[in-house]
Amino acid sequence: MTSFWRAVWLVVRKDLAVEARSRELLFTTLFFALSCVLIFAVAFVREGKPLGEAGDAAAGILWIAIAFSGTLALGRTFERERYNDTLRALMLAPVVRPAIYVGKLLGILALLAATEIVTVPLVALLFQARLFERVSLMAALLVAGTVGFACVGTLFAAMLARARSRDVLLPILLYPVTIPVMIAGVRGTGALLDPEPNIAMAQFWIVLLLFFDVVFVTLALWTFEPLMTD
């Protein structure tokens, strides 16, 4: 077990070291998230105020920004491995395959967390959304939702790294499968942003997300080996 986590740590450290030198993924992902917020602000703001019930637009925009920028980050992470031909080296490493998956997943999560640290306050600020009133519930939604999105995304991006037209295929495959995460994230955030926050509803969505995470992380750990073997 310790060797498993050691391998995980090595993969994470490698990814973070590569990222720390160029900061390419962090900056592009972050800026892409900002562009998403801007585009959707144009679509969902009228006369200076977000459309719909309080917080509806903000919740939607926040999760769309996370999903879109997450897809970009996922694609780029594996594109970098492929471009430098290091994916093969990674796969040849004498460690169990699930360790590589977990390492990659943690790397992506770190990146997405960094993006969210900027995006969430920004959305709160720009749309007068009270995202920080129930910090623990909001954080639980974000963590559970991001893990759900990234655990499917990491597997799909990894398996598509060898496929043709992978850039287009990733969102096409990823969005339908992660729709429950989007619904849970948007509805849960919306419930928290109501003038009278619906705590029970938010908790329901968090529980659903946790179940989603458990099922899909397990599935991904199981399918990573057969999917990454030629």
Binding site: V152, L155, F156, M159, L160, R162, A163, R164, S165, V168, L169, I172, L173, P176, V177, I179, P180, I183, A184, R187, F204, L208, F211, F212, V215, F216, L219, T223, P226, L227, D230
Partner: protein, 218 residues
């Protein structure tokens, strides 16, 4: 072709009989009238689409474990039929909805879920077609994820208010409505089996042909 003759006759008979039954025997529904008869073309494909999606997921899981091509061929055929039956359900549904609810489409749980499952299997076929070599393994992974996704989609979309009749109305249908429905269901099921068998057979022949080509010294 000769081997397919008898099954095709049976399928045609079943669909023909169901058409006669639903045109002549099934009574007019009191509020929706004639348009309710779409039901006999809507319910069977919709249910078979979901069953087919689960079947495809199971076959894909078997393929990932056992690595036998036979499972993959069945999974591919099932995925194509999921899309076909899903398309039938998604076309007949709005036609009926326009009359019954006044709009073509509402974002109701069951509609959203069918639409999503259909999307997942369309993406399966896209991956298969444009994914390049090795895409059969990748699409098998996708099908497994798609199948595991079904309960979550169901739960999450169900938190919206539902408009669609519950599936529980089906066992309580009066016999005049139920008989044509089940005959029609049997017809669509038989059609499914015939198409599945034919599609798997084509895939087998294709694999055989590819093998011959590889083996030949040309």
């Amino acid at each position: 072709m000769r081997k397919a003759f008898l099954p095709l006759v049976v399928v045609l008979m079943a669909l023909y009989v169901s058409a006669l039954l639903l045109i002549a025997r099934a009574p007019f529904e009191s509020t929706m009238g004639l348009v309710q008869k779409i039901f006999y073309f809507h319910f069977p494909p919709a249910v078979l689409m979901l069953l087919s999606a689960i079947f495809c997921g199971l076959m894909s899981a078997a393929f990932l474990i056992r690595k036998r091509q036979a499972f993959d061929r069945i999974a591919l055929a099932a995925a194509e039929l999921t899309v076909l039956y899903g398309s039938i359900a998604l076309v007949t549904g709005p036609l009926w909805a326009r009359k019954a609810w006044g709009v073509w489409w509402v974002w109701d749980p069951r509609l959203t879920m069918s639409f999503l499952m259909w999307m997942i299997f369309v993406s399966y076929l896209i991956l298969r077609k444009y994914g390049g070599p090795g895409s059969e393994t990748l699409s098998a992974g996708l099908a497994v994820f798609g199948m595991a996704n079904a309960p979550f989609v169901y739960l999450s979309v169900n938190m919206w208010r539902t408009m669609h009749p519950k599936t529980s109305v089906v066992p309580t249908l009066p016999v005049d409505f139920a008989t044509p429905l089940w005959v029609s269901f049997a017809g669509f099921l038989l059609l499914y089996i015939v198409l599945l068998t034919a599609r798997v057979r084509i895939a087998e022949q294709q694999a055989l042909l590819d093998q011959l080509y590889v083996d030949s010294d040309l």
